[in-house]
Amino acid sequence: MDLCHPALHPRIHCDKVSADAYDVTNLVSADLRVRARGFRAEYFIKPPVNVILSFPFHIHIHRIDIDPCVGSNVSLGLQILTHSAASIENWLVDNKPGSTSASFNSTINPEIFHLVGRAFLEERQFLCFKNNRYSSRHPFVGKDFLPGTLEGNVYETNLWQKSLASLSKVSHLMVRIVRTQSASIPVLRSIRVYGQPSAACHKDVISLVYRISQHLKPPPVEDAPSSVQSPPCKEEEVQDAARNMLQDPSEETPRIPLEYLDEITLELMALPMMLPSGHSVDQLTLDKHSQSEEVWGRPPSDPFTGVPYTRHSYPIPNTALKVRIDKFLLQEGKHLSNVGRTVGRRTRLVAQNSTIANQNMSHSETSHTLQTPSTSNTVHSTARQVSKRCIKSSDSASMSNHAPKVSEVNASQCTQDSSSENLTKRCSDVHLCDLSESCRKRPKITDETHKPYSRSHEEALSQSLDAALARTLGSIPTFKRRRKEPAVGQVAASSLVNEHDNRLHINKGIHGNMTPTAGPSGISCCRCNSPAAQNSCNLLQLPCQHLMCRRCLLQVQQERTLVCSLCQKNFQTGDVVTVHL
């Protein structure tokens, strides 16, 4: 069994200063997230570093697993030393668990330890020290008490039995880091000591340990020692630890690559925007910056250069970075909490702490979402993932043939659900197209399938979709103008759909946005009344929203009578905008 398990309250102590949030007690912490961080010495510490584990009873060591890599830091040279104190204070029995170990351990002289194992690594490897003479005794027999097999790049070595007690009656175990990779800081990601209480232990102790071990039988899936076993501690304890972590000002999320962090706020970017100056920052940061610029009466500007945005230089969504951040979040997301995100689900994270079962589920779900091929447009691919799941849960088999199409419906449905104020028009356009084109049952089905999933993801997704679309389309003047007149837009869209049934429906959605005037007769020039289809030349939009074909416009221009033939309003040649069909 794992003798470093927090339930057994092993004490740990290090003779050197450890970095903030990477204290040596992380290695035996009951909080999974804290535990996953591991131990890292302060950056100026050089080897040797002694990490001393003391156990509440004598132990018989079977195997010691050590992961010596934290981030880019690797400890390459490690020694294992043991000490067998004649009498030890059993804090398990005395019922004083979890007290600080410093005073207790500082009295131990490193001289009294015996060297029992040594390893020098050449590269990043998982370390495994084995005791070949180990045999399990009653009641610690059976598969449950054996450590799982190790996978991956493992460096195995044997432990030496110098004296009778040096492996089979150990009270203190010292891991000494004697060498690190060049310029690396001494680190330890995790220590696992497998074994059983020593034969010399009192019967009561053995039975107590056995009882504890029965409580923390690992779940069947989590056999591999590399995966973090979850402690059976009470939920309050976990919440307490989580709260402490939130309050801890030195809390870091070391796994997030720097390029995913906003340069100004140092938070993970939810919607990275590329500035004219080349920096990428979050949309939220830009909004806040624009607000504070407004206080001084200035237009929104690039925070790095102070140059105001113009028609040609303004922040654009950094989709490539967004793709990478989303991929990272989907892979690592379960370790990250309280970061802004548009993928992965927050509720899942909360549930993860309480039960192991939930954790396993989230594991499989995450891997499921990753199976779907990622396309360059993440927003789209995420939408597709959602839709694929929706299809699975819904019973209509016929729909699965049109997966990409359905995803569009879902995307629009999501956006609509969020009832985002300024873009509902656009949604309804897309929606209308889909409706008129195919079955009318779909919206109902998607509504139902929304239920099993938490809202947060869909909302976040739709917001990200909205924002991205608004930003891209916002640069097109016709789009902005059209937002003021939603009613006409819908008519336009539906009539368009009727006309061009063969076109891809997504294109229609955009056309619906951009085609301003359309009576029941379709789109035509307001002067010569020739419809767009017959007229091979482009249609142009006048400031009064009416259309005129290029030929008529040129005539009008030559006659110097720049007047709309429908409403008789004057216009300037510069105000005319091309409409693409």
Binding site: P249, I264, L266, E267, K288, H289, S292, P303, G306
Partner: protein
């Protein structure tokens, strides 16, 4: 708030690890509260302020880095400079309206050192006596009028 702390922590670390010449963060002042820093500063060699030592007091509001920090000279020695009032207030545009979230404590320190270094004559601002009697404690509440680009 969390974002402000994260940012300040990073800046503190960077300033401790790799400070600009003549700038030191008083770590004792930071351990009490992350939102108030005291920074020790040396006059740059070869300038009128060579050999002098100053202290700057930074106070960060909850909206930092979107809002500029309050920066004043403090301690026994306040530089005699046409843009520094005798109560420690500094007339520097990046501390109020020209602040940008891309600026940091380090860049503010560098700007102040550069402001001191380019001084040609040690004298107080012309309205020093009046300003010191009437001003608010918070220099950000003053409506500064930035008129001199040369120093």
């Amino acid at each position: 708030m969390a974002s402000m702390q994260k940012r300040l922590q990073k800046e503190l670390l960077a300033l401790q690890k790799d400070p600009p010449p003549g700038v030191r963060v008083d770590e004792a002042s930071v351990t009490k509260s992350l939102s108030t820093w005291q920074v020790d500063m040396d006059g740059a060699p070869g300038t009128l302020f060579e050999g002098e030592k100053f202290q700057l007091l930074f106070k960060f509001g909850p909206r930092y880095p979107f809002d500029s920090p309050q920066v004043v000279f403090t301690g026994p020695n306040i530089p005699v400079h046409p843009h520094v009032y005798s109560n420690g207030h500094i007339c520097l545009s990046i501390l109020t309206e020209d602040w940008s979230p891309a600026l940091s404590v380090q860049s503010v320190c560098l700007s102040i050192i550069s402001m001191l270094s380019s001084c040609k004559e040690k004298k107080r601002p012309p309205d020093n006596n009046f300003y010191v009697r009437t001003c608010s404690k918070n220099p950000k509440k003053t409506k500064w009028w930035y008129h001199d680009d040369s120093v």
